[in-house]
Amino acid sequence: NKHSERLRKFKNKGKDAAALRRQRVEVNIELRKAKKDEQILKRRSISFSLMDESLSLGEEKRNEVIQLSLEEIVEAVNGSNTELQLQATQATRRMLSRQKDPPINQILELGIIPRLVEFLTHADNAPLQFEAAWALTNIASGTSDHTKAVVEGGAIPAFISLLSSQHMHISEQSVWALGNIAGDGPLYRDALINCNVIPPLLALVSPVTPVGFLRNITWTLSNLCRNKNPYPPLDAVKKVLPVLICLMEHEDKDIISDSCWAVSYLTDGSNDRIQIVVDTGILPRLVELMASPELIIMTPALRAIGNVVTGTDEQTQAAIDAGVLAVLPCLLRHAKPTVQKEAAWTLSNIAAGPCQQIQQLITSGLLPPLVELLDKGDFKAQKEAVWAVANFTTGGTVEQVVELVQSGVLKPLLNLLLAKDSKTILVILDTISNLFLAAEKLGETERLCLLVEELGGLEKIEALQTHDNNMVYRAALSIIEKYFSGE
């Protein structure tokens, strides 16, 4: 197979497809605000559910006059009067549940967390268990330090054993608390997994589980799949995955959304991780969900598929076979810039594949929306579209490159040489070089030169010869020298 290996090397000029495919995270540092469309890592329980309201209504009346100070809370919690314990825990929970500025730090400083954790084990006092679980859930929803305090108070085993509580609301509250702990990061996620959280958690999923409860479980499961460095252990993933696949068939959109998020995390990694997901045969369902009108479903489904196509040619082919190319045009034209961007990123990775896949991309009518995006899209999406074109010109056959040019890619591509982003400019210049290589093979160099000049590209490339970035100016210079110097 040396022959095809060399041919491939030639085609991609030393870069193999894996190098062309760009994983999601190039840079771990973010300057931007946390993305609004990301799944929430931790949640606080503010108004819990109807059940709680009805439950607390009665209490509210009873306790109306009782206002406990922080000192009184400490005293009561540490005391032995179960009635007072419940009152104090409830007061704590209520403070932590208020809409604005919950006093998590103040509560933390009271040092009552170990005691609250202890209450979780009071199987004979379900109301106390519940209030403590709720309060701890909300503490764990805070910063990493807050979560840490809860974990160090010994909450993990306590919550795990409460999963099997006979009181559904306690079990549900524990699911939530565990979700917050898992959401903190890979360390606690794995601590939970090592404490064997998965079997009792999965046991809660049944056809009769109420939807609200199921949403919480799905969300917690997704947090158990989340985060890299390291990834969640493989055997845990293998246990969770079949359940996620079932949940994805549910009719509730939050459940579908969170299970999609979970799968998107599982695919955000090395190719063997992707393979595990591909092997479940879930890709067609994911593609179907990508076309969902619900943003909360489409976003994670698109992510998951986007991740799959960062994998091997075969994995990408599986996504293509599942119909991803039919759905992408619509997403590339989506009104939301982040969706455009994600779709374009996905496309760029498909375009990094072998020419057979590029051909499928053409046949599925993806060039027109790609060109549109390049022309009119949001800048974030335009950047990804530029990558798509670059990869296309690196791996595509001469005929395919001709088709690309005929679809009008050149004008918007050259316009983007004015982009205020050095990398994008460099990628465009590389793409232009690729186009010229193709033109040379066809003996059409001169025509391409004229086209580039006509479309205002030449003067832009000339101007880039004074760009401050070394690589940009060198690339510009080399194009000018090769194709535009002399008569």
């Binding site: 022959h3 060399r6 041919l7 090397k9 030639f10 000029k13 030393g14 190039e26 840079v27 771990n28 540092i29 973010e30 300057l31 931007r32 605000k33 810039p337 009119k376 949001d378 800048f379 004015l418 982009a419 205020k420 982003d421 050095s422 990398k423 460099l426 004229l450 000049e453 006509e454 479309l455 205002g456 030449l458 003067e459 101007a463 760009h467 401050d468 970035n469 690589m471 940009v472 060198r474 002399g486 008569e487």
Partner: protein, 975 residues
């Protein structure tokens, strides 16, 4: 060195000496300083001097010396270059970093600038990791309230952060930016607000305002740098503050800040200009977040444009502002901001038209600085001009509103033309604006080669041409209204592909006539327009305008062109010379009657400019014209070559004797052309020159190498026998040139050109004694530095050798250098690298050579080399069928750049002195694949059974299939 008064004194003395105009005093002092700069405390002594010296010149000198010292030495290169130790010891580094910021801030401006530069050099290396307190130190100064200090900090920050504008995203970079944002963004925002407040409290204090506005400019620049890579969370959260203030600054005016200077932009203009850039950055990159603010900025910038004057000092601001509008109006979701007919009319009327007017400054340039004017107007170096920005805005608006915009402007054009008609001598500028407007409206795509290639269909270009352009050019006086003449000629030039051919033919005599205009711009444009018309392509890939159509004008054309070269200011006008070249090329043999006069004028010109060559393009076209004269004439009459030699050799000798470096490469090319024109044995005049061409000094200059090699190749082609018989003592010199060339990575291919010519043309016995030495030299170079380029040339050479001397001779010469060498070359070089050979002829040479090795070299069949037979065959089939391997190892990417000398010595190849590609294999082998099949067949008949068995054991299936194809095509079978 200790930090002692004595040392300070010594250093002062030496610094003083470095300022001495006498090199005998200056140089040793510089040497001394360089010799002590590695000592500890040296930089601290300099810092002490620049702070405390009694004499200002010493302070400044110390600061400059310090900056240069930092520039040379701060970066620790030890990892890359082992011999260069770290010259600045750690304690000095720490001391410098601890003291430099306060020192910079308390210094007078002249020294502050040097220290600020030094800080950014240090910062580039040490910030942030190794200089963690720098930011805090800087930010703390914001509180000082002293704007001299604050501006110093801001300037330093700007020089530290401006690289964020062009560097690639990386973890390292973004970590740094995040750190800067955390420490800097809030204080900068507070400073911004405070400064704006101070501006209103000091609204009546001119000198305070100046300082405050300098701060605002720097703050606005820092905003740009910090927001460039991505939209930082902080700035997203504080967008309201920044954008509201930017917006109000755009609308602000204060008489105290207005400057009297017409040319230089004032603080207010600089600030507004930067704000336009900031708004454009947000509009382009962070559209989603910026959308709520954008309409306000559009309005403000548009108002700004309406109220800004025509003075040159506003040019940058105006062009930035227009470019902002141009980029916004193209975006679909902002279309509505421009849609309204009143808005469009007002933009056209108040923004576009005024900025297209021919200003006093343009008129001045047209008359007094025509070269600059031509460059701007013709060659598109007008990127920052108002006219250009206005054109871009027209194009941007036409994307969605072509109809309405064309309508509005048509009305305008008509009214301006009417104004002109009323009183041309007063109102000619109105017509200029009208022509410019039509041009910018009509042109949708343009190239130098073809002019406008796509035009607005709503504009009738031919009608405008006939009614408004031609009448101007037909007027009796070529010197009246020169600007309008230039406009008219330019119109023909750029719309040459839209205007019908019969109109172009009508224009040609008019253009020829305008070669006589006194205005440099006008006759230059006329020459340029003619040159462009002559390059236009018609059907059948011929020129659009034929020599026959030009016949009536040949004499007047040539006369006017050469006469134009005598007009004041145009004696070395490159456009005219290029038009001469193009005319020759178009007219071909119809110029022959005029050649005697032409060549006289050209040689006179050559002689004149060779005294002081200053216009490279002019010179280049002049030599091209000479080459064309030779080619055209000698094609009709080969014997004419003698008369050219007679006319030219005298000047050439002078050029060579005076060593006119710019011209020598050209002279060699013309001589090569002349020599190649000779059909018989080489003339003695050339042989007399031969020894001189081998002089090492000529080969020192890179620009000489290609044409000299070419010339020597011509010598070898025409006179190999003469050299062998009459100049055999020069052969070692010739080989010396070869040896020098192949030692260089940049020139080795030239060495091979020469060597290949020697092998191909010299009688074998004349080079016999040197052959082995040649191979040894090649091997030495191979061992010392093996580059892809060298390998490619080497492969071509050994295969050519094989063709010329036979495969057996090749094998023998290798094995005579070292036993089994031939096998090693096959295995390590030919088989793995042959795929890299590029070029039709080169590939053919290699194919034929390898075929010979396979089929005409007995040791390949019956020694240990036999095991290489099939791999070699497979490599050959690969050469035929696989795509060329154009990969270059990473470490070789920069070879060419580091070895390529600067522009001035670059070689300028003459297109019309070019020679056609030479194929040494020629008709001997037409189809190398068939040739391989036939040769294999011949081999198999000589030893039946062996070839098929070698093929079946180890040739891969695909290659075998190809081979069978060749055999079939050649109708032969293997026995």
């Amino acid at each position: 060195m200790e930090l002692s008064d004595a040392n300070l004194q010594t250093l002062t003395e030496y610094l003083k000496k470095t300022l001495d105009p006498d090199p005998a005093i200056r140089r040793p002092a510089e040497k001394f300083l360089e010799s002590v700069e590695g000592s500890q405390n040296y930089p601290l002594l300099l810092l002490t001097l620049l702070e405390k010296s009694q004499e200002n010149v010493i302070k400044v000198c110390a600061s400059v010396t310090f900056k240069n010292y930092i520039k040379r030495n701060w970066r620790i290169v030890g990892i890359l270059v082992e011999d260069e130790p770290n010259k600045i010891c750690e304690s000095d580094r720490i001391a410098i970093k601890a003291n430099i910021v306060p020192l910079m801030l308390s210094s007078p401006e002249q020294i502050q600038k040097q220290l600020s530069d030094a800080i950014s050099i240090i910062g580039r290396e040490d910030f942030p990791q190794k200089w963690p307190d720098l930011l805090t130190e800087m930010v703390n100064r914001f509180q000082s309230g002293d704007f001299h200090v604050i501006n110093g900090v801001l300037r330093t920050a700007h020089s530290l952060f401006k690289r964020y504008r062009h560097e690639f995203k990386s973890n390292e970079l973004w970590t740094e930016i995040k750190l800067v944002l955390d420490a800097f963004a809030l204080p900068l925002t507070n400073l911004f607000k405070a400064t704006i407040e101070l501006c209103s409290t000091h609204a009546n204090d001119a000198s305070a305002l100046k300082v405050l506005f300098s701060s605002l400019i720097l703050i606005a620049k820092l905003f740009y740098s910090l927001n460039f890579q991505d939209l930082p969370e902080f700035f997203e959260d504080n967008m309201e503050t920044w954008m509201t203030n930017f917006h109000s600054l755009l609308t602000l005016d204060n008489k105290l800040l207005q400057t009297d200077d017409e040319e230089e932009a004032g603080l207010l203009e600089l600030l507004k200009s930067q704000i336009c850039d900031n708004a454009a950055l947000y509009a382009q990159k962070y559209d989603e977040e910026f959308q709520p603010y954008l309409p306000r900025f559009v309005t403000a910038i548009w108002n700004l444009l309406v109220t800004t004057g025509q003075e040159v000092k506003y040019d940058l601001l105006v062009s930035n502002a227009i470019q902002f509008l141009a980029s916004v109006c193209e975006r679909p979701h902002y279309k509505h901001l421009f849609e309204d007919q009143n808005t469009l009319t007002s933009i056209c009327e108040k923004v576009i038209v005024p900025n297209m007017e021919f200003r006093a400054a343009d008129e001045e340039a047209f008359e007094d600085n025509s070269e600059e004017y031509i460059r701007r107007d013709l060659e598109g170096s007008d990127i920052d001009t108002r006219r250009r920005a206005a054109c871009d805005l027209v194009r941007g608006l036409c994307k969605f509103f072509e109809g309405p915009v064309t309508g509005i402007f048509s009305g305008y054009v008509n009214s301006m033309l009417q104004e002109y008609a009323k009183n041309p001598s007063v109102n000619w500028k109105h017509k200029d604006a009208a022509i410019y407007l039509v041009t910018s409206l009509a042109s949708k795509a343009q190239t130098q080669k073809h002019g406008i290639t796509q035009a607005n269909e709503l504009v009738n270009l031919t009608e405008f041409f006939v009614n408004h352009i031609q009448p101007d050019l037909k007027s009796a006086s070529v010197n009246e209204f020169p600007v309008l003449k230039a406009d008219g000629i330019k119109y023909i030039m750029i719309f040459r592909n839209q205007v019908p051919k019969e109109q172009l033919l009508v224009s040609i005599p008019l253009l020829i006539n305008h070669l006589q205009a006194e205005s440099i711009v006008v006759h230059t444009y006329a020459a340029h327009a003619l040159e462009r018309l002559f390059t236009m392509r018609g059907t059948n890939n011929t020129t659009l305008i034929t020599a026959a159509e030009m016949a009536p004008f040949v004499e007047v054309l040539l006369t006017n062109l050469f006469k134009a070269l005598t007009l004041p200011g145009s004696s070395e006008n490159e456009y005219i010379m290029k038009a001469i070249m193009r005319s020759f090329s178009l007219l071909q043999e119809s110029i022959i009657p005029y050649i005697p006069s032409v060549i006289t004028q050209l040689t006179q010109k050559l002689l004149a400019v060779s005294k002081n060559p200053s216009k490279p393009h002019f010179n280049h076209y002049m030599f091209e014209s000479i080459c064309l004269s030779i080619r055209i004439t000698c094609k009709a009459n080969p014997d004419a070559v003698g008369s050219f030699e007679e006319a030219l050799f005298l000047v050439f000798t002078e050029i060579l004797q005076n060593d006119v470096q710019e011209f020598i490469p050209y002279v060699f090319q013309v001589m090569s052309l002349l020599l190649e024109m000779h059909k018989n044995e080489i003339p003695s005049s050339y042989m007399a020159l031969f020894p001189h061409l081998l002089q090492p000094v000529l080969w020192e200059r890179t620009g000489n190498i290609p044409p000299l090699v070419r010339l020597l190749q011509a010598y070898l082609e025409r006179g190999a026998n003469t050299i062998a018989s009459a100049a055999a003592d020069k052969i070692p010199g010739l080989l010396g040139v070869f040896q020098k060339l192949i030692a260089s990575k940049a020139n080795d291919h030239q060495g091979f050109y020469l060597l290949n010519s020697i092998i191909e043309h010299m009688p074998p016995e004349s080079v016999d004694q040197y052959r082995k030495q040649i191979f040894i030299l090649l091997f030495q170079r191979l061992q010392n530095s093996k580059t892809t380029k060298f390998i490619k040339s080497f492969l071509v050479f050994i295969n050519l050798y094989c063709i010329k001397y036979g495969a057996l001779a090749l094998q023998e010469i290798f094995d005579s250098i070292q036993p089994k060498m031939f096998g090693m070359v096959l295995e390590k070089i030919i088989i793995p690298e042959i795929q890299k050979v590029s070029g039709q002829v080169e590939k053919k040479i290699c194919a034929v050579g390898i075929t010979k090795i396979l089929t005409e070299c007995p040791p390949m069949m019956d020694t240990e080399y036999t095991k290489l037979w099939t791999p070699l065959l497979q490599a050959l089939i690969g050469l035929f069928e696989l795509p060329e391997d154009d990969t270059i190892p990473d470490e070789e990417h920069f070879i060419d750049i580091e070895d390529t000398p600067g522009y001035q010595t670059a070689f300028s190849q003459l297109a019309f002195a070019g020679k056609k590609e030479h194929d040494p294999v020629g008709q001997m082998v037409n189809n190398p694949r068939i040739h391989l099949a036939q040769s294999l067949h011949k081999l198999s008949t000589a030893c039946p059974g062996r070839v098929p068995s070698m093929l079946s054991t180890s040739l891969n299936a695909e290659a075998l299939q190809y081979l069978q194809g060749y055999l079939q095509a050649a109708s032969v079978t293997l026995l």
